[in-house]
C-alpha cells in the first residue's frame, strides 16, 4: 500500500516533509494555484459537493476512491507511481544504463522544456472549459466536467513538483509562469496553439476530450518511458487519470450521435433543417466538428521532421508510445520512416531517418488510436440503421504546423486551390452558423436523471451509481 498522506497541506507520496526547503517552496506556490483556481477554475461551482474520484493511494486499490467532495476543497497533490528497483533506460544512446534519479546536466534544458510544455496544457484546458458548467446538459455531465478539471489541476501540480524539485531557481520561475499565462490571451497565451482555441459548447468539449486529451495520452505515454525516472513515474500516474477524460469525450460524442440517430429514425429524415428544428445536432455538423478538432490536435505533435524530437529520443528523455513493447533495437540509427510531403501540387511519400521523424511516429500512433474510436461511433449509426459514416479527415487537412502549413488540402486528401478551399470551407469546417446553432442548444439541466434533448443518457452511471444519482449537490 503506497498511501497518500492527506494530513499534510500538500497531499503527497514523495515524503515531501523530509525536504523542508522544497515543502516551503511548494507551500508558497499553493496559494497562487488556489487563487488561479478561484479565478480561472469552473465558474460558479464553489461550494458544490461533487461525486469525485480521488486517489487515496497510487496502487490499483486506492486510486479510484469515490465520494462527494466540495470542489474548492479538493486536495490537489503530488502522486508518483511506485518506482521500480534498478530501472534501466531502455532506449536511445543511454540504453542499458541505470535510469536517472536526478536531472543529467547535459539534458537539463531539454527536460525542463518538455515538462513546461506538458505542464502548460493542464491549466490551459481548465481555462478553456471554465464557462461550460453553466450549460451542462445534465448533472452527470457536469460531474464529469468537474472531474476532468480537478485532474487537470492535479496534473499541473505534478509538473510543478518536478520543476521545483529538480530544476532549482529556473524551475520555480517556470512554475510561476505556468499560472501567469492564460489560454487565448493576446499578450501571454498558452504555449501550444490548440490550447488557445475556445471550447465554446459541449460538443466542442467532447471533441476536445476525445481528440485533444488523447494527445495527452500519447505525450504522457511517451514521457512515461523516459530515462528520467521521476518524470516517468509522474506521467504514469497521470495516465491513469487521463483515461477518464477520453472516456468523457468518446462517450459524450457517442451519446450525441445516438440521440441524433434516434430522432432521424423517429422523423424518418436526414434533412438538416428538420433535425435542427427538432433540436438535435445533425451529422454533417458533427463531422465538421471532428474535422476541426482532429486537425487542430494533430498539429500538437509538432513538425513532421524535428531535430529536437530526435535529440529527445536519442538522449533517452522521451520514448515512443509503448516503447517497451516494440521489438526493434530501440536506438533507430539508420532506420527510415515514410513521411508525407507535397511536390508539385501533389501529395507524395518520402523516406527520412526515423530519428528525425519521431513526432510523426507518435502522430501516426495517435491517428490509429483516434480512428478506431471514430469507428466505434459509426457502430452506433450502424445499429440505428443509418448509412452515413463519420471519418477523420486526411492528415494534411487544415494543418498549421509542419510541411502542410499553408497548403490547402481537402478532407479527402487532394491539394486544392485557394478558390476551391474558399468555396468548400463551410462544408468542411464548422461555420459560425453551425457554432451558433450548437450554442443555441446549450442550456443548463441539473435535475438528477434528466438530460438535454440533444444528447442521450449514458448507458451506465459513474462507479455503477444509478443514472439519476445525485452526482452534484448544489447546496
Amino acid at each position: 500500500m503506497t498511501s497518500i498522506n492527506y494530513s499534510e497541506k500538500i497531499p503527497n507520496n514523495v515524503n515531501l516533509s523530509d525536504d523542508r526547503t522544497l515543502q516551503r517552496a511548494l507551500e508558497q506556490w499553493q496559494p497562487n494555484f488556489l487563487s488561479w483556481w478561484g479565478d480561472m477554475g469552473p465558474e460558479g461551482s464553489h461550494g458544490f459537493d461533487v461525486y469525485l474520484r480521488t486517489a487515496v493511494s497510487v496502487d490499483p486499490s486506492g486510486w479510484a476512491h469515490f465520494d462527494h467532495v466540495k470542489m474548492p476543497d479538493y486536495r490537489w497533490g503530488i502522486f508518483l507511481t511506485p518506482g521500480e528497483a534498478d530501472r534501466k533506460i531502455h532506449f536511445g544512446e543511454h540504453k542499458g544504463e541505470a535510469a536517472w534519479q536526478d536531472v543529467p546536466g547535459e539534458h537539463r534544458a531539454n527536460l525542463r522544456r518538455i515538462i513546461v510544455t506538458q505542464g502548460d496544457t493542464e491549466p490551459a484546458s481548465v481555462e478553456q472549459q471554465r464557462h461550460l458548467g453553466l450549460t451542462a446538459p445534465s448533472m452527470y455531465d457536469l460531474r464529469n466536467l468537474f472531474q476532468v478539471n480537478v485532474e487537470e489541476g492535479r496534473h499541473l501540480w505534478a509538473m510543478v513538483y518536478l520543476l521545483h524539485r529538480y530544476f532549482g531557481r529556473d524551475g520555480r520561475e517556470e512554475a510561476e509562469a505556468l499560472l501567469g499565462r492564460r489560454s487565448g490571451d493576446d499578450d501571454n497565451p498558452r504555449i501550444l496553439g490548440a490550447f488557445n482555441e475556445k471550447t465554446p459548447d459541449w460538443l466542442a468539449f467532447y471533441m476536445f476530450t476525445y481528440f485533444t486529451d488523447r494527445d495527452g495520452k500519447f505525450q504522457l505515454s511517451a514521457l512515461a518511458e523516459s530515462g528520467f525516472d521521476p518524470l516517468a513515474r509522474t506521467t504514469k500516474f497521470m495516465l491513469t487519470e487521463e483515461a477518464h477524460h477520453m472516456f468523457v469525450g468518446e462517450s459524450g460524442v457517442s451519446r450525441v450521435i445516438a440521440r441524433t440517430a434516434q430522432v432521424m429514425n423517429e422523423l424518418k429524415t436526414d434533412d438538416v433543417s428538420k433535425l435542427r428544428a427538432a433540436g438535435v445536432i445533425d451529422l454533417p455538423t458533427i463531422q465538421r466538428y471532428i474535422n476541426f478538432h482532429y486537425s487542430v490536435t494533430i498539429d500538437l505533435f509538432g513538425a513532421d521532421q524535428s531535430s529536437n524530437a530526435a535529440i529527445f529520443y536519442s538522449s533517452g528523455l522521451k520514448g515512443r508510445y509503448e516503447e517497451s513493447k516494440r521489438d526493434d533495437d530501440h536506438q533507430l540509427n539508420g532506420q527510415m520512416y515514410r513521411l508525407l510531403d507535397v511536390d508539385n501540387g501533389k501529395l507524395v511519400e518520402r523516406e527520412v531517418p526515423m530519428l528525425n521523424a519521431m513526432n510523426e511516429v507518435l502522430r501516426d500512433d495517435y491517428i490509429k488510436d483516434s480512428v478506431a474510436g471514430v469507428n466505434r461511433w459509426n457502430k452506433v449509426l450502424e445499429k440505428a440503421g443509418i448509412d452515413l459514416r463519420l471519418t477523420v479527415p486526411h492528415k494534411a487537412f487544415n494543418r498549421q504546423i509542419g510541411t502542410f502549413a499553408g497548403v490547402r488540402v481537402s478532407p479527402d486528401g487532394r491539394v486544392v486551390s485557394e478558390a476551391e478551399w474558399a468555396a468548400h470551407e463551410r462544408e468542411w469546417l464548422p461555420s459560425s452558423e453551425d457554432r451558433a446553432y450548437v450554442a443555441s442548444l446549450m442550456g443548463r439541466v441539473t435535475e438528477p436523471g434528466k438530460f438535454a434533448n440533444w444528447i442521450a443518457p449514458p448507458p451506465l452511471g459513474i462507479n455503477r451509481q444509478p443514472i439519476d444519482f445525485e452526482y452534484v449537490r448544489f447546496n
Binding site: M1, S3, V56, P60, S61, G62, W63, A64, H65, F66, D67, K217, L239, T240, A243, H244, M246, F247, E250, S251, K368, D369, A372, G373, R376, K379, K383, P448, P459, L460, G461, I462, N463, R464, Q465, P466, I467, E470
Partner: protein
C-alpha cells in the same frame, strides 16, 4: 439457500466492447496479466483471471464489470472475444450459478442499455449499490469458500419491503455522548433471507430540503441468519445516532436519528439485502479475527452469535475480537460481551478516552497481543474482518503488517493471498 454450485459453471469475466474506450487502464492494472487486446477489443483470458477485481474500480467506463455464467468447458476464448461488437447474452439456464458471487437481475442490469440482456455484470461488491462508498479493494472481493450463498438485492428503492419495529433500546451508557441503539425489525411473512456480515438499506421517510426523496443508508445486520429471536423472521441493527459529521460539525444525521427515534410498531422501508463477500466461513476449523469500532460491532455480533448458538461439535476454530470505543460506557453490548465464555471468544477492548489513562486504540491492543495475532496469521484457516469507522482501516492494516513482519511473514504476499482467498474483509464507513 441455493443448492451446491455445479463445479463446471464458470463466472466468466468479460469486457463490454460497446462501452470500453480501449484506454489500457485495466491491462496496466491487472496484477496477473489476464487482460490483453488487439486493434479491435480489450478482452480477459478466462483461464488466467482469478476475479481479484483489481481492475474494476480503475476502469473509467464500467465496461470491465461484466460477467457471464458459462459452462467451464465452453468459456469464450480470447480469439472469439476479440471479434465481438457486443456482449453475448446470458444463457438463462446457467444464470446465477457462476462461482463468484451472486448474479442479480435488477435495476442496474436494465440501465446498462446497449450492454445486452441477461444478467448484468454484477458480482460481489459491485452488486450492492454503494451507499457508503467504503474502500473495497484493499480487502477481499470474494467470500470465504465455505460461506453460505447469500441472497442480494431482493428489494430496491422502487420496491422496498416493509418491516415493523419490534424492539428499540439504547445499548450504550445513558451518561455517554454516544447514543447507540439496538433495533429489531420484523419482516412478518415477507421473505428476507440474510447471512451474518450482510447489510440492509433503510429508506428514511420525507425529503431533502430541496424536495427530493432521501437516499437510502446502509446498516450492517447484527443478528445471525436465523433471526435475532431464533425462528422468527426478524433481524437486529446497531445504529449510532449521528449528531456530528466526520469533521465534528454539528449535524442531525437523517437516517440514524429517524431509526433511533422509532417506536414499537412503526413501519420501516427496507432494501437489500446487500453484500456477498463480507460473509463468515462455515467450516468448523475456521478462525475469526474480528476488529471493530463502535457500530462496526454489528457484523461481529452476528457472526459470534451464530457460532455461539451452534458451538459446532468438535469445532477447533478460534474467535478473537478487538473492539475499540472511546470509553467503556460507549461500547455497545459491553455487558453481554463480557458474559461470553473466555474459552469461546478471546475479547480485547481498547478505550481511547478513559479519563486518566493513556489513549488506547484497537491497533495498540493488537500490538500487545502480537504473538497470538501472529499465530492466527500463520494459519490458513484464519479469516479477518474489519468494520467500523473509515479511519481505522489504515491503522489496522499497518499493525497487521508490523505483526506479520515481526513474525517473519511477508505481509505483502500474505495480504494478497488472503485477499484472493476471501480471507480479509474490510467494511468501513
Amino acid at each position: 439457500m441455493n443448492g451446491p454450485v455445479p463445479v463446471e459453471v464458470l463466472r466468466q469475466h468479460l469486457i463490454d466492447p460497446e462501452i470500453c474506450i480501449r484506454c489500457n487502464t485495466c491491462e496496466e492494472t491487472c496484477p496477473i496479466d489476464a487482460i490483453t487486446h488487439d486493434e479491435n477489443n480489450y478482452v480477459v483470458r478466462a483461464d488466467t483471471c482469478n476475479g481479484c477485481m483489481a481492475c474494476i474500480s480503475p476502469c473509467p467506463t464500467g465496461a470491465i464489470d461484466n460477467w457471464r455464467d458459462v459452462l467451464k468447458a465452453e468459456a469464450y476464448p480470447v480469439d472469439e472475444q476479440l471479434t465481438w461488437d457486443e456482449l453475448p447474452v446470458q444463457d438463462d439456464a446457467l444464470a446465477g450459478q457462476g462461482s463468484i458471487g451472486e448474479a442479480a437481475q435488477g435495476a442496474q442490469g436494465a440501465s446498462s442499455g446497449g450492454a445486452g440482456a441477461g444478467t448484468n455484470g454484477m458480482t460481489a461488491e459491485s452488486s450492492a449499490p454503494v451507499i457508503g462508498g467504503s474502500d473495497l479493494v484493499r480487502g477481499s472481493v470474494v467470500p470465504p469458500w465455505s460461506a453460505a450463498k447469500p441472497y442480494v438485492n431482493l428489494y430496491n428503492h422502487k420496491a422496498p419491503v416493509q418491516a415493523s419495529v419490534v424492539g428499540n433500546y439504547r445499548v450504550t451508557d445513558a451518561s455517554t455522548e454516544s447514543d447507540i441503539h439496538h433495533i429489531v425489525l420484523d419482516f412478518g411473512k415477507q421473505p428476507f433471507p440474510v447471512l451474518e456480515g450482510q447489510s440492509i438499506g433503510i429508506i428514511p421517510p420525507g425529503t431533502t430540503a430541496d424536495g427530493r426523496a432521501h437516499h437510502a443508508r446502509q446498516y450492517s445486520i447484527a443478528s445471525p441468519r436465523d433471526g435475532e429471536r431464533p425462528g422468527y423472521n426478524n433481524l437486529a441493527l446497531t445504529v449510532k445516532r449521528v449528531t456530528k459529521d466526520h469533521q465534528g460539525q454539528a449535524v442531525g444525521g437523517v437516517c440514524s436519528n429517524y431509526l433511533c427515534d422509532l417506536k414499537k410498531g412503526d413501519v420501516v422501508n427496507v432494501m437489500g439485502p446487500f453484500g456477498s463477500t463480507f460473509l463468515m466461513p462455515n467450516h468448523a476449523d475456521s478462525h475469526l479475527l474480528m476488529i471493530c469500532t463502535g457500530t462496526g460491532a454489528a457484523p461481529m455480533r452476528a457472526m459470534t452469535e451464530y457460532r455461539r448458538r451452534r458451538r459446532m461439535k468438535g469445532a477447533t476454530g478460534k474467535l478473537m475480537l478487538f473492539f475499540g470505543a472511546r470509553t467503556q460506557g460507549e461500547l455497545p453490548y459491553f455487558g453481554p460481551l463480557l458474559n461470553l465464555p473466555k474459552d469461546f471468544i478471546d475479547t480485547n477492548l481498547a478505550f481511547s478516552r478513559t479519563p486518566g489513562q493513556p489513549r488506547r486504540y484497537v491497533q495498540d491492543a493488537m500490538r500487545e497481543r502480537a504473538a497470538d495475532v501472529a499465530a492466527l496469521l500463520r494459519h490458513d484457516h484464519t479469516y479477518i474482518y474489519v468494520c467500523g469507522l473509515k479511519g481505522m482501516e489504515d491503522g489496522v492494516l499497518q499493525v497487521l503488517q508490523t505483526i506479520a513482519g515481526e513474525a517473519g511473514l511477508d505481509w505483502q504476499t500474505l495480504w494478497q493471498r488472503m485477499k484472493t482467498e476471501g480471507r480479509l474483509h474490510l467494511e468501513t464507513y
